[in-house]
């Protein structure tokens, strides 16, 4: 436990050191000695790239200073990689269980046909590469202790967060009565195929139902009664492609069971009311642009030709955060409004409510 006591005092030392390095932070110098010695932006070094299937790989990452290893099984992290000089960000579920001792985290990535970054991560990333990280987020998590009966409904790379949950249950020896349905085009493309079989062998409570959609077609939810007759009594976690999740949601709503369904989607859906629009002024770039209430501040800035910082573009990583000098913006996800002077706002998920000015 000594490392726990050591960390805050080390932080204090660095804070004191900033009188020597002002206006920079000691970390700005230390990271030149070791790229992981900085907490200014979270960093990680790729330790290993483990191929899982033909088009998927697990990245084992050693995070740098400022990482807490306290992610909850099922959460995702942002990963930023410099491609052609420019940081590109994506979010992926952590597949490793929360474990302080190993000092690494794993994420599993499937190369998407049109996803330049995912293909880069799976095929071109070299061990030793330093990447940027964003802290774990997400409500798609397993409670501790777990419920006595669980159903996982998984499609494709949706297995990743569920894998983190299964590994945690395995490691903590708290595997309850679990049914896992796993849809995948064919056996070769099943990520974690061998590990799942191993888990299934070791845990009596774990039953896995595999479906190869290339030959057997998509999961029909009417068949759920056969796959898992007592599904109505199980807390359910579902992760996979959008249409699959839509169908699952509908099925649970028809059964009035939506309360026991937990979903993870990989794309942001901006619901709720838009802003009202207005003219957004980018103070330092001396640019102004008229926008409607559905255009995010980030998109507005890009339209105006301002070099906006951005990351995940879904409100996770805070890379896009800027200071709102005046005016009002609305969070397109929640409808919350931000209008305090000098408030820091996430430009990728907010839209203007009337005229506003940003410090960039």
């Amino acid at each position: 436990m000594c490392s726990l006591n050591f960390m805050p005092s080390w932080t204090r030392v660095r804070r004191a050191g900033s009188t020597l390095t002002t206006p920079l932070h000691p970390d700005d110098y230390l990271r030149l000695l070791n790229p992981l010695w900085s907490a200014r932006e979270l960093r990680g070094r790729i330790e290993e790239v483990v191929p899982e299937t033909e088009d998927a790989a697990t990245l084992v990452i050693q995070p740098g200073w400022g990482w807490h290893y306290d992610h909850r099984p099922g959460q995702y992290v942002g990963i930023g990689v410099q491609v052609d000089g420019k940081f590109q960000w994506r979010s992926y579920s952590v597949s490793s269980p929360p474990k302080r001792r190993r000092r690494t985290i794993s994420i599993s990535v499937r190369a998407m046909p049109e996803g330049l970054l995912s293909a880069h991560l799976v095929k071109e990333l070299e061990p030793g590469t330093v990447v940027r990280l964003a802290l774990p987020e997400g409500d798609f998590v397993l409670p501790d202790p777990p419920p006595p009966k669980i159903l996982f409904l998984v499609g494709g790379s949706g297995i990743t967060p569920v894998m983190a949950m299964l590994r945690t249950l395995d490691r903590r020896r708290t595997m309850p009565d679990v049914v896992l349905h796993y849809s995948s085009p064919n056996a070769d493309r099943m990520i974690f195929r061998d590990e799942l079989s191993d888990l299934e062998e070791r845990h009596e409570g774990l039953a896995i139902h595999r479906l190869h959609t290339d030959t057997d077609g998509m999961l029909e939810l009417a068949a759920l009664d056969e796959i898992c007759p007592d599904w109505r009594n199980r807390e359910t976690w579902a992760c996979g492609p959008g249409p699959m999740l839509d169908a699952i949601t509908e099925h649970y709503e028809e059964a009035w069971l939506e309360k026991q369904l937990h979903l993870e989607r990989f794309s942001l859906e901006l619901g709720g009311d838009g802003g009202e629009g207005g003219s957004i002024t980018f103070r330092n770039s001396n640019k102004t642009v008229e926008v409607d209430g559905a255009t995010t501040v980030l998109e507005a800035g890009e339209q105006a030709g301002v070099g906006m910082p951005y990351g995940c573009r879904m409100g996770i990583c805070h890379t896009c955060t800027l200071t709102l000098v005046s005016g009002r913006v609305r969070d397109l996800r929640s409808g919350d409004e931000y209008a305090q002077p000098n408030e820091r706002v996430q430009t990728c998920i907010t839209a203007a409510v009337g005229d506003c000015t940003l410090d960039i």
Binding site: T19, L20, T22, P23, L24, D28, Y29, L32, R40, E41, Q82, D84, G85, K86, F87, Q88, T281, R283, N284, S285, N286, V306, G307, M308, P309, Y310, G311, T319, L322, T323, V325, S326, G327, A339, Q340, P341, N342, T357, D359, I360
Partner: protein, 405 residues
């Protein structure tokens, strides 16, 4: 002679000016398109070198203060390393990062929105007084506070006052205390004198300057000397010398940007219904380059490419040399003057202007070149026909918002 209409001065038709604008836009688009990993490597390497030099300078000075044998050579070496680091940090790194030249990398650690530099002026105020006021209203009398920085008379159109007799002295003071002069720049002394400054805004700015300045002074004049123990004096003088060098150097480079002969001033009329292309033209006529090798250019923040910098303030500075070749070709093509010369000559002309303008106009002659052709009346719009435009300077955006604390 201050220019009221850049097109008249450059004897170009509207169509030619618009064509020039399109050609410059094309250069910008091409450079933006071709920014890549090599550019990112440039700024990252430079930051690494600069931080290495700064660390080496501090370590050598620390050693020289604690060892009897190291003595004066170590002091000189440490001071030189530190001064070089400070110059690089302010010029090629800080100034250019804050212009947003590296924002395209999407790296929050090298981004104009949060970069803070090693000088007394808070970054936020610099971005307003420099990126906005100076780069938008470049060389327009009464709008660009960089014409003489509120203390020097740098254009014959500015009214002479007996106060100006002391110009050579003020100039020397400004040079040696440059960062502190710059620190007060966005306060807009002129506006304060005329009682036009919002007192709340002034208080906020002063607080910001005080906080930044205090940390800078503590670092160089208290903490590092204290670490040197009983030889604190040698570290103190070394830091003071490094700061002095960095002040004088940045002052000289910056004064060579718009004050050599050939860099023209403009009257307010030029701003009225000015198009983007006319803005380009004004930047070209109002700025002056200087010549030198790659090292000189890096040490001066690429401001030897002042013309290119003013045309494209937010394109990466390492691309200015290739842009310069193309801008110069355009100047030849459109017969527009391209002011450049060796550094000593450019600064010599600046010094001559400072001295000449310390006395009334009638005592001296102008060194500005005459316009190539007599200007023609193009029948510009009358005041009533023009759209209204904000004319006030200094934190205009902030005083406009009442919610601001």
């Amino acid at each position: 002679m201050a220019i009221a209409d850049v097109k008249d001065y450059a004897h170009l038709t509207d169509e030619e000016v618009e064509q020039l604008g399109r050609e410059l836009d094309a250069i910008r688009a091409e450079i933006e398109e071709s920014r890549s990993a090599a550019d990112a490597a440039y700024i990252n390497r430079l930051i690494k070198i600069q931080r290495g030099l700064a660390t080496a300078g501090r370590v050598v000075l620390f050693a020289s203060a604690h060892s009897k044998r190291a003595g004066k050579p170590a002091w000189a070496l440490g001071t030189g390393l530190l001064g070089t680091a400070k110059i690089l940090e302010n010029m090629e790194i800080g100034h250019n990062v804050m212009h947003g030249q590296w924002d395209w990398m999407n790296d929050p650690e090298i981004h104009s929105s949060n970069w803070e530099w090693d000088t007394a002026q808070p970054a936020e105020q610099w971005k307003h007084s420099h990126n906005y006021v100076h780069h938008q209203f470049t060389n327009v009398l009464g709008h660009d506070n960089d014409i003489g920085y509120g203390i020097l008379r740098m254009a014959r159109e500015q009214k002479w006052h007996p106060f100006n007799l002391g110009q050579p002295v003020y100039n020397a003071l400004l040079a040696s205390l440059f960062q502190w002069g710059v620190a007060l720049h966005d306060l807009d002394i002129e506006a304060i004198r005329k009682g036009k400054k919002d007192p709340k805004e002034m208080k906020r700015q002063l607080k910001q300057i005080w906080r930044k300045g205090r940390n800078q002074v503590l670092k160089d004049y208290v903490v590092y000397p204290a670490l040197s123990g009983k030889n604190w004096k040698s570290t103190l003088t070394a830091n003071a010398t490094a700061n002095f060098t960095h002040n004088v150097w940045s002052y000289m480079i910056i004064f060579c940007g718009h004050f050599p002969d050939g860099a023209l001033h403009f009257t307010e009329e030029e701003l009225e219904d000015e198009t983007r292309s006319e803005w380009y033209l004004r930047q070209m006529l109002g700025s002056a380059n200087f010549e030198g090798g790659p090292l000189l250019h890096v040490m001066s923040g690429s401001l030897g490419y002042q013309i290119e910098h003013h045309l494209f303030p937010d394109l990466p500075s390492n691309r200015y040399p290739e842009i310069a070749v193309r801008v110069r070709a355009l100047c030849d093509k459109y017969d527009i003057p391209y002011t450049t010369g060796p550094l000593f000559k450019q600064y010599g002309q600046t010094l001559r202007t400072i001295t000449k303008l310390s006395v009334p106009n009638s005592w001296t002659s102008s060194d500005q070149p005459e316009p190539p052709t007599p200007s023609i009346d193009r029948g510009r719009k009358t005041d009533d026909e023009r759209p209204t435009r904000r004319s006030e300077l200094g934190a205009w955006s902030r005083s406009a918002s009442e919610v601001r604390a």
